[in-house]
C-alpha cells in the first residue's frame, strides 16, 4: 500500500504508539496515509479505537513476523 509517512513504534508500550501516532498525523494533510509499525499487541485494539474516536480511517491492520502494521488515513 502507498503511504506518505512512516512511524515506527517498535518497542514502545501504551500509550506511546497512540500518542505518537497522533503527533505524526499533525503535520500531514487530509487524505494522506501514515504507516505505523508496532510491537505492542495492545496497539491492535487501541489503533482501531483511536480511528473510531478521531475520525481517521484505519485502512488496514496486519501482522508480519511479530510486528503489527497499520495504515491510517488522515481525515
Amino acid at each position: 500500500m502507498n503511504f506518505n509517512k512512516e512511524f515506527d513504534a517498535s518497542g514502545m508500550s501504551c500509550p506511546l504508539p497512540i500518542v505518537k501516532t497522533k503527533k505524526a498525523l499533525v503535520d500531514m494533510e487530509s487524505g494522506q496515509v501514515l504507516k505505523i509499525i508496532a510491537t505492542d499487541c495492545g496497539a491492535v485494539k487501541d489503533m482501531q479505537a483511536f480511528a473510531n474516536q478521531t475520525g481517521n480511517t484505519l485502512l488496514s491492520n496486519t501482522e508480519e513476523g511479530g510486528k503489527y502494521i497499520f495504515f491510517m488515513q488522515k481525515k
Binding site: G11, M12, S13, C14, P15, L16, I18, V19, T21, K22, K23, T39, D40, F50, Q53, T54, G55
Partner: protein, 156 residues
Amino acid sequence: MTTKKMAIIATKGTLDMAYPPFILASTAAALGYEVQIFFTFYGLQLLRKDLSDVMISPLANPAMPMPIPMPVMVQMLPGMESMATMMMKNKLKKHGVASLEELREMCLEMDVKFIACQMTVDLFEFDKKEFIEPVEYGGASMFFGFAGETDICLFV
C-alpha cells in the same frame, strides 16, 4: 462534533500512582479530548521539575509483584525504597514504557492543562520555583468549573 472533556484529580506522589494520570491524560488528549489534571496533596510532587523523589516502596504495598518474597522487616531496611524504585524504573524501561518526564512533557505538548491546588501548595510549603511551567494555581471551585462539564472525571 463537540469536544469531549476529561478531568483527573491526582492525589498520589509515588511512582506507581504517578503513571495513571499522565497515561490517561496523554491518551485522551491524543483522542481529541480537552483535559485538565488537578494536582493536590501528594500529587503535587508530580509537578516538580525534578522527579527523582517520586519513588515506589514495597512497604505497605502488598500487591506489588516482587522477584522474591520479602518479609516486611526486610522492606523496612534503609535503601530498600531506592532499590525498589531503581528496579521498577528498569522494568518500565525494558518494557518500552515512557518515563514520567516524557509522558508529562507529551501531556503539555498536547495542551493538557495542569492545575496545582493552592491550598496544599501552601500547606506543604512548596516553592513554586520547583514546579514546571505552565501550571495554573487554583482551588476546588475553579476546578469544578471545568470538571462539572466533563464527560469523564477520575480520582487517582
